[in-house]
């Protein structure tokens, strides 16, 4: 995978976005930068998780590298865990690099915006020095709330958790898939279902009015497909709302549970796979 090419595209998007919203208000300017950047980071991580993982097992089978690994004292579960671990490591490194770049650009943008807005105050008439200082403090407060902060890391954690769950799902699909394309298509479908299933469940249960079958269907879908709604903290992060630490822990725990479930299913399928 051309990880660095993807990251170069991200850098271009980020730098472009930092210049694109210069005519907006302080708050909106920083929000838009965060919105575009988080969207780009999330898209990159999720597509990378699917495309990168889908090729791992088929390529090892095709090149017979799998034979040289599995004839060592390595169990099939260890092999799968190794693949998951490798992908998680690549995701952490890529996300870490994008996080650094994004935080750096946002910090610079925050400073520039504050300086520009404070400079513009020179042309505004103030009744007193106190009123002027209050306006400056307001600009700084808005910029601090919407600028680079630890709260951004909650958004990064959500993207990482989602990408790890997608990696585990894709690995599961690739244990029974007949081609890489099939794995990618099914995993993309699962990604869409994962994002929409929370909403679909709510609609289903609202209309069910206590009926058993819709509840069973909703429960089955929730068990079989990952529910990405739990990881949706990005809107809060973009608007500057502080995400509590408990939410981050909850996402981590859910990510762990999904990984364990999907890896166990992958192991069951892969243990009997004819190589």
């Amino acid at each position: 995978m051309k990880v660095f090419a993807f990251m170069a595209i991200f850098a271009v998007v980020l730098i472009g976005a930092s210049f694109a919203f210069a005519d907006l208000k302080t708050e909106q300017e920083l929000k838009m930068l965060k919105d575009v950047s988080f969207a780009a980071i999330q898209l990159f991580c999720m597509l990378f998780a699917i495309a990168g993982t889908a090729m791992l097992i088929p390529r090892d089978v095709e090149d017979r590298t799998l034979y040289t690994i599995l004839c060592k004292p390595v169990s099939r579960l260890e092999y799968l865990l190794g693949k998951l671990g490798g992908m998680v490591l690549v995701l952490v490194i890529s996300l870490g690099a994008m996080d650094l770049l994004f935080t750096g650009v946002l910090h610079l943008k925050q400073r520039t915006v504050v300086e520009q807005n404070v400079a513009e105050l020179e042309y505004r008439p103030f009744r007193s020095q106190e009123e002027r200082e209050k306006a400056v403090a307001e600009i700084i407060e808005v910029a601090t709330q919407q600028g680079a902060s630890w709260n951004l890391q909650a958004g990064m954690a959500a993207i990482l958790a989602k990408s790890i769950v997608l990696t585990a799902v894709t690995l599961l699909v690739s244990t029974f898939a007949t081609s890489t394309l099939f794995t990618i298509m099914v995993s993309l479908a699962l990604m869409v279902i994962g994002h929409a299933q929370g909403l679909a469940r709510e609609v289903l249960l609202d209309e069910a009015d206590g009926a058993v079958l819709p509840r069973l269907v909703a429960g089955g879908v929730a068990v079989l497909f990952p529910d990405f709604k739990t990881f949706d903290v990005l809107d809060a992060v973009i608007t500057g709302t502080v995400v509590p630490g408990v939410e981050v822990l909850k996402m981590g725990g859910l990510c762990g549970i999904y990984c364990v479930l999907y890896m166990l299913a992958a192991w069951v399928l892969f243990a009997d796979k004819e190589l």
Binding site: T68, C71, P73, E274
Partner: protein
């Protein structure tokens, strides 16, 4: 000396389901039995699709047997821990191209639990053994076919296995590279490592193997030591030094009387290649005949 065979295959049968609407089956290996003693070099020969690779894969736990048993040094080959004793080089292997020779050996060494100085020493030793010391820091993407086979052999033995399984180790390798691999197999034999190999190069098999099994259409047709299976039972031969045509009629008596040195008395041997072709074409003829009758 250990009485436990290095490899024991008992009545191994492996049936594959043919994909499709009709539930057809294909028997890749049928009722194959063989035993390899520690320190032996065993050659499994047969045409393409005869079941050699399937037998090896079942032995390595990569495929499950439909029926029958496989054991490596007494341990069920389906168990992961049986592979601590085994090294395997598949046919035409492709390793991770972005890794160098030394990194490849490090990767496989770590899979076998080697770490630190022991691993570093072992990597150096293996690269020296397969004559790739100068290419240790080159990426595998730039290796020739022969070099890939040699690094493959090095990864197979990095954890000091007692059994090495080589599937067509010289396939696609030029004569020089092929000779190098043959020498490496001889070196393994000298070190007391048991080797099972499959090859189409019958001359090479004859050169390095102690025992041989001929497999055809999933069945073991002949099995035994090289001397046993190449023996032609209905003929005799006498090797004389200084023999003249006149001595032919009264060889034994006249040889001693006229001072000729008696060198050898035994059965003449055919070549492995001739035997292989005879056995497989007879089996093919028989199969055609039985198919014609039915």
């Amino acid at each position: 000396m250990s009485t436990v065979p290095a490899v024991s295959v008992e009545q191994l049968t492996r049936v594959f389901r043919v994909p499709g609407l009709r539930r057809r089956e294909f028997t890749a290996v049928s009722d194959v039995s063989l035993e390899v003693q520690p320190g032996e070099v065993y050659g499994l020969i047969g045409p393409n699709g005869s079941g050699k690779s399937t037998t090896m894969k079942v032995l390595l736990g990569l495929l499950r047997a439909t029926s029958g048993k496989c054991a490596i040094f007494g341990r069920d080959s389906a168990r992961v821990d049986s592979r601590e004793e085994v090294g395997y080089l598949p046919e035409n292997p492709y390793f991770y191209k972005h890794l160098t020779g030394a990194e490849t050996l490090e990767f496989y060494g770590k899979l076998c639990g080697l770490r630190g100085r022991e691993l570093r020493d072992r990597i150096g030793e293996m690269l020296a053994l397969v004559d790739l010391e100068e290419s240790r820091d080159r990426r595998l993407g730039g290796y020739s076919k022969g070099m890939l086979q040699r690094i493959g052999l090095a990864q197979a033995i990095i954890h000091r296995p007692r059994l090495v399984v080589l599937d067509e180790p010289t396939a696609g390798v030029d004569p020089l590279g092929s000779r190098q691999i043959r020498d490496l197999i001889m070196e393994l034999k000298r070190r007391g490592i048991t080797v099972i190999l499959s090859s189409h190069l019958l001359e090479q098999v004859q050169e390095v193997c102690d025992r041989i099994g001929i497999i055809f259409r999933g069945r073991m047709l002949r099995e035994g030591s090289l001397a046993q299976i190449t023996e032609v039972g209905n003929r005799s031969e006498i090797v004389l030094e200084g023999m003249t045509p006149e001595l032919m009629e009264e060889m034994r008596a006249l040889a001693a009387a006229r001072g000729a040195k008696w060198i050898h008395d035994g059965h003449p041997r055919t070549t492995l290649e001739t035997l292989f072709l005879e056995v497989t074409s007879a089996a093919a003829e028989a199969a055609r005949a039985s198919a014609g009758k039915s």
